[in-house]
């Protein structure tokens, strides 16, 4: 008898991820599908609005990474008005963006990914939560995470105007300069962030790398896919979150493409599947060959590990060391193990902290020259940044008054959608045998997509990492046979 298993987070709003698993007559997995929601209606919503409102509006799409949307939109309006911001404005933006990465990556490692890796993939589910993480790393570390985040948020508020939804990005610059007094606070916080990042990498070495079982899980075939990787790089092919060219490497790690953000439509296409309302991004130059690995399939991956794979290194010294350590430990570049994203995230945390420190100490940062006034008639603009969860594209077309006539957004999770679907499929095949479905499947399948930290359609309220899940098993006639739930 053929059965359908649905893992549904029963989320209330804002869209959600959902997993459908189809079993064949023998109870083996025929196919598993992971569905992520899309920004339904956003494009229409944007039409008719002034482009300069987009940094404010798009930052409200998502409660998880408003700063990323704000920054991508701000860069898109720079491009729309063909205006190049002054050096100080670019540095202030990148400073704020680096602080945002510190805050977001720290949160993910300890609170979201921590239950899988600090507490451990095989720990009882009662311990696989943030309280379990605190039990393992100590209460003081928990307080330190909260304290660091508080300090970072205060700085984002200082520079960005508002903490949750920054309002400082304008076409051609930023709304506010930094003073010498502000600078002192950023410098002090930069030192703090670097120390914290180094400490976090040590936690990872001590708790994860010294435990053979965890390392085994990271490199296991169930969580490995050989795909293309994409990320922004600077002029020396090093990871950059704020600006640069988009570089794509092959599953063998060779440069395949390098292009300007404005050319993304020539290289990125979207594939539609009847079972999902998400469009699966793929590399146009390679083509869509289904949910397949390898150099012949256009499936690619974004987010921390992909960024590291797509670059030749890190632009700061301590992060470069951490980068080298990751690749020498995991057998060279590229690394295809999805779960290594947790480690890559910490390498990036250290880079973000070091970059923050560099920018905070930069004399340009307190220059009063923070705006170049736009003078061109707008037509079209593209802005791309690396969001914590991967490459984020904003593309607007306007009339001569700067009113949006067309908008296109590709969020990180859409880039990753095909590979996430493959990961879930592989994980499900690995754990479901002869129709046996138990509670353990929830965590093992969840782990497959949690490493990507998928932004559930900018699901502002989902508490990531504690997403309530239900596995529903149906027979061929869609009659409910059994249900397993895990409610937050």
């Amino acid at each position: 008898m053929s059965r359908t298993i649905t893992i549904d987070p029963i989320t209330r709003l804002e869209g959600h991820g959902k997993i459908d698993i189809f079993l064949d007559d023998k109870g083996e997995v025929e196919k598993a599908y992971f569905q992520v929601p899309e920004l339904r209606g956003f494009e229409q919503f944007a039409v008719g609005r002034p482009a300069e409102d987009m940094p404010q509006i798009t930052s409200r799409i998502c409660g998880v990474c408003p700063t990323a949307h704000h920054m991508a939109a701000t860069k898109a309006v720079d491009d729309l008005y063909k205006v190049d911001p002054p050096v100080a404005a670019k540095k202030i933006r990148e400073l704020v963006y680096s602080i945002f990465f510190v805050e977001d990556h720290a949160l993910h490692f300890y609170f979201l990914g921590g239950p899988d890796f600090v507490v451990g993939p095989t720990a009882p589910k009662g311990e696989r939560n943030i309280l379990g993480v605190l039990g393992k790393v100590g209460l003081e570390v928990g307080k330190e995470v909260i304290g660091l985040r508080k300090q970072m948020r205060e700085l984002i508020t200082l520079a960005g105007g508002k903490v949750i939804h920054p309002v400082f990005g304008l076409p051609g610059g930023v709304a506010k300069r930094l003073t010498a007094e502000d600078q002192g606070k950023f410098i002090a916080a930069g030192d703090h962030a670097v120390q914290f990042a180094q400490f976090s990498l040590q936690v990872f070495r001590d708790i994860v790398l010294k435990n053979p079982k965890y390392v085994e899980a990271i490199v296991s075939d169930a969580y490995t896919h050989k795909t293309y990787y994409m990320g922004l790089v600077d002029g020396s092919n090093r990871v950059n979150f704020y600006d640069g060219q988009i570089r794509v490497v092959t599953p063998e790690g060779k440069e395949y493409l390098k292009f300007k953000p404005q050319d993304y439509l020539a290289h990125v296409a979207e594939h539609v599947e009847p079972w999902s309302y998400i469009k699966f991004c793929y590399l146009k130059d390679v083509g869509w060959k289904g949910f397949e690995e390898g150099a012949d399939s256009g499936v690619y991956c974004v987010a921390p590990l992909a960024r590291l794979n797509a670059a030749d290194g890190m632009a700061t010294p301590l992060a470069q060391k951490a980068y080298d350590e990751l690749y020498s430990t995991l057998g060279g570049k590229p690394v295809h193990h999805t779960l290594a994203n947790h480690w890559a995230r910490l390498v990036e945390l250290l880079y973000a902290a070091e970059r923050m420190k560099e920018l905070a100490n930069d004399p340009d940062i307190i220059s009063p020259d923070v705006r170049t006034l736009p003078t061109q008639t707008p037509t079209e603009g593209v802005g791309v940044v690396e969001a914590p969860r991967g490459t984020l594209f904003h593309h607007y077309q306007t009339d001569a008054r700067g009113v949006i006539t067309k908008a296109n957004l590709i969020v990180a999770t859409q880039n990753n959608a095909a590979r996430i679907a493959m990961s879930v499929d592989k994980a499900a095949r690995g754990v479901i045998k002869q129709g046996k479905v138990d509670d353990g499947i929830l965590n093992l399948v969840e782990m497959a997509f949690r490493a990507y930290d998928p932004c559930h359609g900018c699901a502002t309220h989902a508490l990531p990492g504690q997403m309530p899940l239900a596995v529903r098993v149906y027979n061929r006639n869609h009659e409910l046979l059994e249900e397993i739930r895990r409610d937050g």
Binding site: R12, L13, L39, R40, F111, I130, K143, R149, L463, P468
Partner: protein, 158 residues
Amino acid sequence: MPRTLVLGLGNELLSDDAVGILAVRRLREELDDQTDVIESSLSGVALMELFVGYERAIIVDAVQTGEFPPGSIREFAPADLDRVLAPSPHYAGIPEILALARQLELDFPREIRILAIEVGDATTIGGALSPAVATALPELIGQVKSQVARWQGEVPHA
């Protein structure tokens, strides 16, 4: 620092999900300086950080259980949530946030009330409130005011 927090949650771009934000926005002018009004789309740990330093807090948010008609307003204490609203990740988050805050010895409100309004369409970007929810909005605002007034030991005005 004011002692009471009125926290409106939701996403103002998403139709009925804006209701918590709209409710507290209208209250901002009416409440005294002993009360802070915050609109937020945050979740999880980031949300937890907003509560620090307040003695009492009231959360106003949309909920979609499908068990009640849109516009129905219900009030909870965090302790009720595990049982009542666990299928919602947002609310399921509150007890966890409280446990975490306790463990971290954060300066957290000793009393938290949650006003949840059942919503209809909460997924269309740019949609307006559905009629049932729009009709219930004044009642929701009234309930928030009453709660704040009770905490301040005042009799609410009729």
